[in-house]
Symmetry: C7
Subunit: 95 residues, 7 copies
């Protein structure tokens, strides 16, 4: 891929949004944000610890991840659409 | 389980909400948030200290925990509903 | 007790609220919050220093403490009502 | 005294408020807060540095101090009224 | 170039804005910010770690980068227009 | 002087306000705050670095300093009026 | 010069404002702040790292710098007008 995200950022290809709604009976007052699923296509070198050391990324290219629907910036590379966001906006890796 | 939360996040299966209301006589002006109970089904590797070291998690898979009703993001994995939240949103382990 | 608070949290049994009002003559424009008294029934392992070390708790099980009336989350364990709050919300130990 | 404040908190007996108003001619647009005077009756062990070390208190029991009128929480111990506040809310020691 | 940005700042020559819109069908509720493309023409020495060490820059002069449309300050040097922004406002390097 | 400011605070005797207005022609849209001049009459021991070490003060008793008009708390000691403020509110020493 | 700025502050003599406007065609929705140019006439000793060490200044007396139009406090020394601001408010050195 022709793009290298900076610091602890990743580039994500958004996948079809999974059904994540929790039933009205169990959580009737729920106002929680529903996350989105995507595939990591590029990763940065990681963020910096307070002493300047690089903290390695937990995610790798190819990982399927869940992230907040409102996270990230949209970009278009070689005609394809992606999101650039920080690793801290990723909730979990779907194995 | 097919999901791995990042950093100090956990995946929680929400349990039936316990009765946590304190009587009106003792705390008539109470406006405090009532926590919810759940079971830990997956844990991240932990957050990072300022020097980059990983701080181990206090909770383990199988722990029954109390957490704020408004904490976390709802996700659906293999047809089941869960919450993803940070360990710092968990109040206590019910032993 | 069957509950273990996380990090620097404590579980408190609320005691009868002490009279803490300061007379109108000395502080007529006082709008200060009145604290509440309680007994510590469980303590966490402590918070983390920036290098990841655990900072030991100052309070112990059995201590009678003063805390802000609005601090903490209400919980119910084995039919009894308690508050879960951080040690930083505790003002003082009444000896 | 039967009370031990936590961390970098102190217990203060409020003294008669000193006249601290600056004349209208010198500072006509002054909207600055007027501090209050009190006597330290109990001190905590101190706050924690980022590495977890305790930072010793600058004030001692018996010191007469100036502090913001709006600082602290009112408490009543053995029938007497006091304020509990953090050392960082104290402006100066009156020698 | 006759300008040296301070700390972790860079000077960027703005390029023609790329088409980065994601289709309405996939993200109908999208309100995400569209980034802009530019060429790095000068870089600072880097920001400081907490211990005072300089953290080297990830970007170099000549790199084509993506950054938020609202980032940076406009400047004019030798009749040409540029943006000065912090490296943390840069999302990715387009290779 | 009978007052000892805490941490990185100083006690300042306010001097006659200098004329600091910049002409309307050069900065017509200026809305910048005009500083005030004073003489340091007491200094604290200094603030604490993150490791707990004391950072020595830059100002000394007798220094004439410039500070923001809105900085500090007014106090009255032995019938005289002063300001107590943090060293970080001082802009410069007038030599 | 008879003034010594504290910490990481500098004293700046404002120069004639350069034309920095970017044409309406290239950035029609631009709402970015236009910086101002000035000459450094005095520099402080630098800010403090978290361990208390002094971080040396990047700018020197005589440097021509760009800074935000709204940065700094206006002062008047020996009849001349200057700005006092922190080095972090300076965008770049014009060589």
């Amino acid at each position: 891929m022709n793009i290298k995200p900076l610091a602890n950022r990743v580039v994500i290809e958004v996948l079809e949004q999974k059904e994540t709604k929790v039933g009205g009976i169990i959580m009737p007052d729920s106002a929680k944000e529903k996350p989105q699923e995507g595939k990591i296509v590029a990763v940065g070198i990681g963020s910096r610890a307070d002493n300047g050391d690089i903290i390695p990324m937990e995610v790798n290219v190819g990982d399927i991840v869940l992230f907040s629907k409102y996270a990230g910036n949209e970009i278009k590379v070689d005609g394809n659409e992606y999101l650039v966001m920080k690793e801290t906006d990723i909730l979990a890796i779907v194995k």
